[in-house]
């Protein structure tokens, strides 16, 4: 079976064109629409439905930066999605802890300006980490040193969580 990148006719790279991905997705879905297989019998229709589900999974995985990075590590042999791994990087985790304390204080103080500033800080940190990961994955470094880049992608999931919590806090403050 083709991997998700192959399915979309893409090279195995982290950087991709979202608009192009979406248009490829639509074309692929059209090509396997069950209506096109009516004359070819039930078997062909069933296969088309399966293919359609696979294309859908591939699209959901490739379009989301974190999931795309996780998938590339999966292809390199490290399953990040279902692991029960514990990250033990004290300085990174201490920073995460401080940021979450800060977010809690801003929420309690209903400090909308502070929250906005904080959101910018986190977005910048996330951008920096994402750039590092993008460069490494584009260059295929994760195939040489999978454990190292798996750890960087794990860090990205903490940043994603923090970003989601900031968005929630902003919604809650009706901002």
């Amino acid at each position: 079976m083709d991997n998700y990148f192959q399915l979309f006719g893409l090279g195995e790279r982290y950087s991709l064109d979202q608009a192009e991905l979406t248009s490829t997705f639509r074309n692929l879905q059209k090509s396997v629409h069950p209506d096109q297989f009516v004359s070819q019998g039930e078997q062909a229709q069933r296969l088309a439905v399966q293919k359609s589900a696979q294309i859908n999974d591939a699209y959901q995985t490739l379009k989301t930066p974190l999931r795309r990075a996780q998938y590339m590590l999966e292809l390199a042999g490290i399953d990040l999605k279902s692991e029960q791994h514990t990250l033990r990087d004290p300085s990174f985790l201490m920073q995460q802890m401080e940021w979450r304390e800060q977010l809690e204080e801003l929420k309690q103080a209903e400090d909308i300006d502070g929250l906005e500033q904080f959101s910018d800080t986190i977005a910048a940190a996330q951008r920096q980490l994402t750039q590092q990961i993008a460069q490494a994955l584009d260059a295929g470094q994760h195939r040489q040193d999978a454990p190292k880049w798996a750890n960087e992608v794990r860090k990205l999931s903490f940043m994603d969580k923090l970003t989601a919590e900031i968005a929630q806090a902003e919604d809650a403050l009706d901002y």
């Binding site: 692991e83 514990t86 990250l87 033990r88 985790l93 802890m97």
Partner: protein, 127 residues
């Protein structure tokens, strides 16, 4: 998802929330995180001259099960030696709190926090 009564109790009345001074030579700090859910947990043990844990504190940013797991662990480790504390297994935590399978990683995180704290303490001792 329904939480067990024990999880809710620890979540609503967490025991031993807070921090010790991490540079204190008697304090061991375990920092761990679960990439699967983005939870972060800090467990600190205060260890007396006989190597017995006299006090414990935690701070956890995560779901109810992660908070309950770390809260429970602070109760369990008090009065234990480091070697005894090191034998606490995630399965015991999960069983006590009746954690569902999808929340087992919270108990693993709490077990790993104890181990990380013990390692931190050992690294602080003069060779």
């Amino acid at each position: 998802m329904a939480y067990s009564e024990k999880v809710i109790d620890h979540y609503e009345n967490p025991r031993n929330v807070g921090s010790f001074e991490k540079d204190d030579p008697q304090v061991a700090t375990g920092m761990v995180g679960a990439p699967a859910c983005g939870d972060v947990m800090k467990l600190q043990l205060k260890i007396d001259d006989d190597g017995v844990i006299e006090d414990a504190k935690f701070k956890t940013y995560g779901c109810g099960s992660a908070i309950a797991s770390s809260s429970l662990v602070t109760e369990w480790v008090k009065g234990k030696t480091l070697d005894e504390a090191a034998t606490i297994k995630n399965t015991e935590i999960a069983e006590e709190l009746a954690l569902p399978p999808v929340k087992i990683h919270c108990s693993i995180l709490a077990e790993d926090a104890i181990k990380a704290a013990i390692e931190d303490y050992k690294s602080k001792q003069p060779a």
